[in-house]
Every structure is written in C-alpha cells, then in structure tokens.
C-alpha cells in the first residue's frame, strides 16, 4: 500500500486554499525610515497645538484620529506581524471604553487609571479569545472574531450594568485631580500614541517580533525553529487587545459618553481593519496613515454623509487594487529599493 501523499492535506480544496493562504500583501520589512517617519509625525503633532491658529475643536478632531491610530496599531500587531486577521477589534474597543467609563463613573478615578484598567481588562479577554480560537487561522479566524465583536455588542446592549442604548454619561475628564479640556486630552492621547509606537517598535524588532513574523510566514517552519505557537499566539492577541483597549478608553472619554448605539455594531471592527490594510499592516506608520484616512474622509465630506460612505468604499477598492500592501508601503518603497541596492553593491553580489 502506498503512503498517504507527502503533502498531508485533506483534500485538493485545501491545497488550492493553501496557495491563497499566504497573505502576501502584508509582508514588508522594517525600515529605519519607517520609525523616523512616525517620530516626525509625532513631533509635528506635539508641537502643532502651540500654533495660534489651532482651535479646541481641531484638537478634538485630531484626538479622534489618534484614537483610531492607536486602535489600528493594536490590529496591526495581530494582522500585520502575526498574520491573524481580526474583524472583531471593535469588541476590544468596546471593552476598553466601558471598563474606563464604569471605573471613572462609579469610582471617580483618574482617566489615566481608567486607561490602564481598560488595557488590562482588554488584554485579558484578548488572551482568552486567543485560547478559544487557538486552532483557527485565516478566514475562520476572521469570522470567529467577527462573531466576537457581535457578542460583545450584545452584552453591551443587554446587560443592565452597561445601560444599553441609553448609555452612560461621564463626568469631565480628570487627571491627577485636574480637569482636562481639549488641550489636555490631546496631549494625553499623543503621549499615549508615542509610548505605544515605541513599544510596538521594540516588540517588532525583538526576538518576540521575529517569532510573530515566523508564525505569520510559515507556522510549520516557525514551530520547527522552536516557536511555541500557543504562547506567541496568546501573547500577540494580548498585546493587540491591550492596545486597542487603550484606544477604547480614550474613545469613551473624548465624548464623555458610552452607549450601545455606538459600540454594538460592526462598524468599528471593519473601520479599524480597513485603516490597517489601507495604511499598511506591517509598517509602523501604516496605522498612522490608515487612521488618518478613516477618520478624515467622513470629516471632509461631513455634509454629504452618505456620499462619504460611497467614497470610502471606492477609495478602499482603488487602494487595494494598486497598493495592496498599503499606502505606507508605497511611500517607503523607494527607501527599501535604495537600501537593497546599496547592500548588494557592498556585498558584491552577482545576483540581481
């Protein structure tokens, strides 16, 4: 009797699936320019409020962008670096938002404490979710996370603690006893983003990041290199959820209001994923670009609300058609090419 086929796939369908499974639009290497670009953007953002023309509402709008960028960073860790697609991060956003909301409302804590708590709670649930979805990958994972987002939405809608559609009205934001307005909130957000960006940079360039990317590019090769699939999957989810949880907390406090109306939908999940894919999933400034795009597009077309939806969809389709690895990748590509060329020349390689 003959041995089972060397490739132990269940059917040919699975083989066909295998060819498409690799998410090749995500794989781009880290570049130093990437980090510099992010640092520059952050520096600009930090200094802009000092300009006289900047008004409070502008900072609010900018804060909203920052919130999305942070949320997108969370998704990027999972999708871009570990290769696990989540269409459910709206769930973590909600978890973060409500955790912070309830803590500040009922216990009068600082917004910062709220944010930290949001991070931990969200991270914990992320870890649980990773365990539940341990055996999933690809399309199935996406659907599973979609279900998760919906589930969180239902909980938020129906469990009395969360006040469903009526929502919870929060008091003014307080940090270290001081009430903070638009400026204060903006700086809190920017500093949070800066710290998160630094953290993501550190993770991605460490051995831990290598392990994530190994799992993304080939699970079998990763395991054969000693990567503990369970540990790193859970870790990736934990970090990803924690970061998005922070965004959730900020999202609650920027309007001082949480309600099921906002959080019990799939909009956030889809929007954040979109931001990551459009901006570039495996690039540090990807979430920056994506977050900006997702928030500012409806803003500029606020008058024609429905038209902005259509425009969003059209732009998304066009970007994916011509820049599937994201806009960030297009921007960084000249640097990448130059670097490769330089390295080849230096090494005297015969291959081109």
């Amino acid at each position: 009797m003959t041995e089972a086929p060397a490739k132990m796939t269940a059917t040919v369908v699975a083989e066909f699936a295998e060819r498409r499974e690799a998410v090749n639009s995500l794989k781009r290497r880290y570049l130093r320019q990437d980090f510099i670009a992010a640092a520059v953007l952050l520096a600009i953002a930090l200094l802009t409020p000092t300009l006289p023309i900047v008004k409070g509402w502008m900072l609010s709008q900018a804060s909203l962008v920052i919130i999305y960028v942070i949320a997108a960073m969370g998704v990027a860790i999972l999708v871009g670096y570990t290769g696990l697609v989540s269409v459910g991060h709206g769930g973590f956003l909600a978890i973060g938002a409500y955790t912070s909301a309830l803590l500040t409302k009922h216990f009068g804590v600082d917004m910062i404490i709220g944010m930290i708590a949001a991070m931990f709670v969200s991270a914990f649930i992320g870890a649980l979710l990773a365990l539940v979805f341990l055996r999933l990958s690809g399309a199935f994972m996406a659907i599973g996370t979609l279900g998760f987002a919906f589930f969180v939405g239902t909980i938020v809608n129906n469990v009395p603690l969360f006040e469903g559609r009526d929502g919870i009205l929060l008091d003014d934001n307080v940090i270290l006893g001081i009430k903070i307005g638009d400026f204060g909130f903006y700086y809190t957000s920017i500093i949070s983003l800066a710290l998160i960006t630094l953290f993501v940079y550190c993770v991605v360039n460490s051995g831990t990041g290598r392990a994530f990317m190994a799992l993304r590019d080939s699970e079998n090769a990763a395991m054969a290199s000693g990567v503990n699939r369970l540990l790193y999957r859970v870790l990736a989810f934990t970090i990803s959820a924690g970061i998005t949880g922070i965004a959730g907390a900020l999202n609650a406090h920027i309007v001082n209001y949480v309600s099921a109306e906002v959080y019990a939908d799939i909009w956030y999940s889809v929007d954040i994923l979109m931001a990551v894919v459009v901006g570039g999933a495996a690039i540090l400034i990807g979430p920056y670009l994506g977050g900006f795009f997702v928030v500012m597009l409806p803003f500029f077309f606020e008058q024609l609300a429905d038209f902005s939806f259509i425009l969003k969809g059209v732009v998304l389709i066009i970007v994916l058609r011509f820049a599937p690895a994201g806009i960030g990748e297009i921007l960084l590509r000249p640097f990448q090419i130059a670097r490769s060329r330089k390295l080849r020349a230096a090494a005297g390689s015969k291959v081109d």
């Binding site: 490739k7 132990m8 796939t9 269940a10 059917t11 040919v12 699975a14 066909f16 699936a17 295998e18 498409r20 499974e21 998410v23 090749n24 639009s25 995500l26 999708v79 697609v85 539940v132 979805f133 055996r135 999933l136 990958s137 690809g138 399309a139 199935f140 996406a142 659907i143 599973g144 979609l146 279900g147 919906f150 589930f151 239902t154 909980i155 809608n157 469990v159 699970e219 079998n220 939908d265 799939i266 889809v270 979109m274 894919v277 609300a305 429905d306 038209f307 902005s308 939806f309 259509i310 425009l311 969003k312 969809g313 059209v314 732009v315 998304l316 389709i317 994916l320 058609r321 599937p324």
Partner: protein, 289 residues
C-alpha cells in the same frame, strides 16, 4: 409553545441558510469572504419597497425584478471589482468586499434615506392550524420559498452542465481549467447566483426586519457562523448550521429572554470551534508539512 418556537426558528433559519449558501458558493470558488452579501439582499429589499410603493407593481412582478436586479448586481461586482484582483491573497479580496459593503450602504442611504421603513407587504396574521399547532402563515411562506430555491439549486448542481462544471472548479480549479471549463465564467456565475439568492432573501426577510441600510448586518454574521458549520465549503453543513442557529436562538430567546437571542450564534460558534475546528462537515486546511 415549543412547536411554534421551533417553526419560527426554522423560518428565520431558512433565510440565514440561503444567505449562508450564497456565502459558501462565492467562498469555495474564489476564496473570498464576501462581506457585501448581506447588502445585496438589503438593496433587494429597498428595491422591493420602491417597486411596490413607488411604482405600484404587483408583488410577483416585484420579486422577479428584484431577483433579476440583484443577480445583475452580483455579477457586476464580480466583473468590475473582483476580477481585476482575482489573483490577490484572501485578505485583499475580503477587504475589497468591505469596500463594496460601504458603497452599497452609502448608495442605499443616499437614494432611499437611512431611516427604517416598513415593508408594504405583510402576511395575514391569522395562523393556520396544522395538526393542532397554530402556525404563522409568514413562517410557512418563508420556509416554502427556501425549500423551493433549495430544490432549484440542488437541480442546478447535479443536473445542469454549468452546475457540474462549477463543482469541478470548486474541487480543482486548475484541472477544471485544463479540461476546458471556463473558470472565469463560472466565477461570474457564482457571484450572480449569490446575487440571485440575495434578491430572494431581501424580499422574504423585509417583512420580518424593518428595511434599513443596516438591516442585514446581523443576519450576515449569523450566515457566516452557519457557513463555518460546514467548514465554509459544504452547503449541507451550512444549511444545517443555519437552521440550528435559527431554532437555538428562538428557543434561547423564548426560555432565557430575548437579550440572549443574538448571542446564541456566537456561543454556538465558540463551542463548535473549540470542539471541532474543521466545522461540522467541512474541511479546514490541515497542517501541511
């Protein structure tokens, strides 16, 4: 009463099932998770309202027109949007359908407005007595249609040349291509069928759910959960999953309170995936060495 709950669950379940079939069809031929599937039905529902109210057309003519329009919509999406990127990875394909989702949402809101509307055709609320149980006419109607469409699909896949060709493409697209099967046409046909089914779902579900751009969001998620029951590959599995979801959520809603209803689908998928990641009857890619 238990029988009533179950029947009403089967009725909604059969609509989930139709959507799930459409989703599986597109997925197994193109490896695309189509997030816009729900919106195909949504557009169908809006068109239905338009034809019935604005144009005063007869109900059956409306069905015909709506189904035809949605079929056309499906094929247009494939030809215009998906075909140029047909060779991309699945995430790109999926996110592109998100783009279509946004567009359809925007178009519906723009043309017809975002507020919810009632569907102008409702069923005679007097229940029919079947074997002692009082059964709503609406439920029977939906189940009837679902069975009819199911029968048509069954006939299509087993007895028509195109249907058999489509199954060949599913099993091995390269071999099918080498055998002379027009794969591109089959893909177009798959999307067309997805639209075809969506047209029916839109008309059938509209009396139950109010018509709005968001109406199909929840249904779509449940349809996907159902599709996972079949490993995103098996129609039979998807149908069974959908019916299970419909019945389970109705029973849960009846006995545990309506707030539990929507989360049943997720709980089910968690249990299923924890126990059997390949889905009930489907095949998830096994680890390849």
């Amino acid at each position: 009463m238990l029988g009533q709950q179950i029947l009403s669950g089967l009725a909604t379940g059969s609509l989930y099932a139709l959507t799930a079939i459409a989703v599986v069809l597109v997925f197994r031929n193109t490896r695309t998770i189509n997030l816009a599937q729900g919106d195909f039905a949504m557009i169908g529902a809006f068109l239905g309202v338009y034809f019935l109210k604005q144009l005063g057309l007869n109900y059956y003519a409306t069905i015909l027109l709506v189904v035809a329009s949605c079929t056309l919509l499906g094929m247009t999406v494939e030809w215009l949007v998906m075909r140029p990127i047909a060779k991309s990875d699945w995430l790109t394909l999926f996110t592109t359908t998100i783009g279509v989702y946004y567009i359809l949402h925007g178009v519906a809101g723009w043309i017809w407005g975002r507020d919810t509307k009632a569907f102008p055709v409702t069923f005679d609320p007097t229940p029919i007595n079947i074997g002692g149980a009082l059964v709503s006419q609406g439920h029977l109607y939906n189940i009837g249609w679902a069975l009819a469409i199911g029968a048509v699909l069954y006939w299509f896949f087993n007895y028509t040349k195109q249907g058999v060709a489509m199954r060949a493409v599913t099993d091995d697209p390269e071999a099918a291509y080498l055998m002379g099967i027009p794969v591109r046409f089959i893909v177009l046909l798959s999307w067309g069928m997805a639209g075809f089914i969506a047209g029916f779902v839109g008309i059938l579900i509209a009396p139950i759910i109010y018509v709005s751009p968001e109406m199909m969001d929840e249904v779509l998620v449940k349809a996907y959960v159902a599709a996972v029951f079949g490993g995103l590959y098996s129609i039979r599995g998807a149908v069974i999953g959908a019916l299970l979801i419909g019945v389970a959520e109705n029973l849960a809603g009846g006995y545990l309170g309506s707030s539990v209803k929507t989360s049943t689908a997720f709980v089910m998928i968690v249990l299923l995936l924890a126990i059997r990641p390949q889905g009930l009857m489907g095949i998830q890619k096994r680890r390849e060495i």
